[in-house]
């Protein structure tokens, strides 16, 4: 581990050296950025998203975020199964960060000395430097600040990528989240007409690989490091023991079910940093879906199920038309029901008989 860490730290130094050599243009750009307005945003835990403008007011700015990395045990199902989680800001997934195209996202990443591992962050929205991973590797007790320009709009995954075998292990331990870069004038339909949302929810889907003992029961480990060897064996089988939304089976059901009203338009951002998935809203649709998550492409319309590639985030916009309970699932139904990937919406409003009506209740078959 130390060798790997040293190697990675070495690569960081190299990258820094390169940056110094090319300091001319970098300095000029930095000077331009220095004059931009700055905005400090406090992040909120998913499925909620910090307040933001859908269409940008004014020109580009620097948006500042801070995230603390927390290594801590988390319960991931009703049976009390424990994950030695690694988290951005304490939650799985990490919070959604929203900026506009042309803005600069400036993140201060803190790795408190209560942690045991080195971490970093790779932004799929960023350009160069391994998505920022090469410039952000920090040991426990360190912090780092990275700025990148949001050059293209869309929803993008971020995740920990501290080198080699550490990468998938950190990701399936919970270290991923998403960034949403909105077009400056907001979202548009396939004809370029503006579309707006009344609510936004961010759902991060995770595949977990918890080792079992000889009797088939999930094992517990004192710390993340203790589980590494066993966990990698399960990971190599490629069959997750859990597929869940927001870190835990049932995390978005019951009291924590997402809420909406008939007539409201909801944007659902869905990320999966590691493995393909296929969200489906039972009883609803995707009115406008950016499957790949990139807003420069026209949205697909009237989708029943959409595909989120592992390592990406997508966005689906839907206006609820009927009240009731909606299940939002990964439509591999085995993963939804047996492995945990089910969330609920409770939707209030007036029922529309035109859309659906039970003409005759169940009764004995007429002979």
């Amino acid at each position: 581990m130390l060798t790997r860490r040293e190697a990675l730290l070495g690569s960081v130094l190299t990258a820094a050296a390169v940056a110094t050599i090319g300091s001319g243009p970098v300095m000029a750009a930095a000077k331009d950025v220095a004059g931009l307005p700055r905005e400090k945003v406090t992040l909120v835990a998913p499925p909620f998203v910090h307040a933001h403008d859908q269409a940008a007011k004014g020109g580009p700015k620097v948006v500042e975020f801070t995230m603390r990395i927390e290594e801590k045990p988390l319960v991931i199902d009703a049976a009390g199964t424990q994950l030695n989680a690694m988290t951005y800001n304490g939650s799985i997934p990490g919070p959604l960060m929203v900026v506009h195209e042309g803005d600069y996202l400036e993140l201060t990443l803190i790795n408190p000395d209560t942690n045991t591992l080195a971490h970093n962050i790779d932004f799929h929205a960023a350009t160069g430097g391994l998505g920022g991973g090469a410039l952000t590797l920090i040991n426990p007790g360190e912090q780092v600040t990275l700025r990148f320009k949001a050059t293209r709009s869309g929803t993008f995954v971020y995740h920990c990528a501290p080198g080699g075998a550490m990468i998938p292990w950190h990701v399936v331990s919970g270290m991923s989240g998403a960034v949403m870069v909105l077009p400056r004038d907001g979202l548009k339909d396939e004809k370029g007409k503006p579309v707006r949302y009344d609510r936004i929810y961010y759902i991060g889907e995770n595949d977990f690989y918890i080792p079992r003992d000889e009797q088939g029961k999930f094992k517990r480990y004192d710390s993340a490091g203790d589980n590494y060897e066993d966990t990698v064996k399960v990971m190599r089988g490629l069959i997750p023991t859990h597929v869940v939304f927001n870190g835990k089976a049932g995390s978005l059901t019951g009291e924590n079910a997402m809420k909406a009203k008939v007539g409201e338009t909801v944007l659902i951002v869905h990320s999966q940093a590691n493995r393909d998935t296929r969200p489906h809203l039972i009883g609803g649709h995707g009115d406008f879906v950016w499957e790949g998550g990139k807003f420069a492409n026209p949205p697909a319309k009237d989708m029943e199920t959409w595909f989120i590639r592992g390592g990406s985030a997508g966005a689906a916009l839907y206006t609820f038309r009927q009240p009731g309970i909606y299940a939002y699932v990964n439509h591999n139904l085995i993963e939804a029901v047996e492995l945990g990937a089910t969330a609920h919406f409770t939707v209030d409003g007036k029922w529309d008989d035109d859309l659906m009506m039970q003409i005759e209740a169940p009764k004995a078959i007429a002979s």
Partner: protein
């Protein structure tokens, strides 16, 4: 523990053992069958009447309504196991080759869990054969009678609104959420959830129990039942709340409660049929 209206029969176990001796003599098989602990400790409930919300789904004028209350009567003393059948009790049936191993890996003095309706029936049949008496699952009414003040029935959903079916779905979902019951999957030793006022232990703890009552769709017209269609591939399961499970389901988490909290575990307790021994003896003597 209150002895009224219940009287706990310390003598029942003794009577059962004496009965065993007789039945063995009749059989000519002098096996030393030790009565499983759960079967040895019964609670006898006095006959009585009570108001009971019926199990199943009820429709009036084509829309769902809360399950109607009916007056139910237990006509003869009801002998029911004080505790749920334990893992070690069940294991003896497995050793005899009459029961399939339960899904739960727990052993000893904890309720057997990870068992289906079919498993519970197999155990009742095995115990009846072994003791020469009649053991069976309680009906939903019997279970409710034994559960006393701990009986909850289905999660309330209120009257269906013919103009808006969603209202009932939302009400039920919110009522269930509001109960705030957290998953509690680890079975505890017998008696951990205490006894109710009738002296029956562990009712509505974290092990739901199979009953012999079938799931039904019932149509109500006026104040009478106009039609009923039952599906005995699904049985009523009782516990913290009432639910309905397919006969082969062993893990409630994947067997029912489409939305909301599923049973933590599935287990059972049995009713001892009074006079069962006599009937069995009569049967063995070829007098029927």
């Amino acid at each position: 523990m209150s002895f009224d209206p219940v009287f706990t029969f310390g003598t029942i176990a003794a009577a059962a053992l004496i009965g065993l001796g007789v039945s063995n003599a009749i059989d000519g098989t002098p096996s030393r069958f030790r009565v499983p602990p759960a079967a040895a400790e019964l609670v006898t409930l006095k006959p009585g009447s009570f108001e009971h919300p019926q199990p199943g789904e009820f429709l009036r004028d084509n829309h769902p309504v809360p399950t109607p209350m009916t007056k139910e009567t237990i006509h003869t003393p009801l002998e029911i196991m004080k505790f749920q059948v334990t893992a070690s009790d069940y294991d003896r049936c497995v050793s005899d080759g009459a029961c399939k191993p339960a899904d739960s890996l727990l052993v000893g003095n904890v309720p057997v869990t990870g068992v289906s309706f079919l498993d519970a029936q197999a155990y009742a049949n095995w115990l009846s054969a072994k003791t020469g008496e009649t053991w069976r699952l309680p009906t939903d009414v019997e279970w409710a009678y034994a559960a006393g003040e701990r009986f909850r029935a289905d999660i309330e959903a209120g009257d269906g609104d013919p103009a808006d079916p969603a209202r009932r779905w939302l009400t039920q979902y919110r009522n269930e959420s509001a109960l705030g019951r957290k998953a509690d999957p680890e079975p505890r030793p017998l008696g951990a959830f205490g006894a109710n006022s009738k002296g029956v232990a562990d009712i509505a703890g974290n092990v739901w129990e199979w009953t012999s009552t079938c799931y039904a769709h019932v149509t109500i017209a006026g104040d009478r039942i106009a039609g009923s269609l039952s599906n005995c591939g699904v049985h009523v399961v009782e516990g913290f709340h009432r639910t309905y499970m397919s006969n082969f389901i062993r893990d409630g988490k994947s067997g029912g409660c489409a939305v909301g909290t599923p049973p933590d575990n599935l287990g059972f307790r049995l009713v001892h049929e009074r006079g069962g021994f006599l009937r069995a003896a009569v049967r063995r003597l070829g007098l029927t």
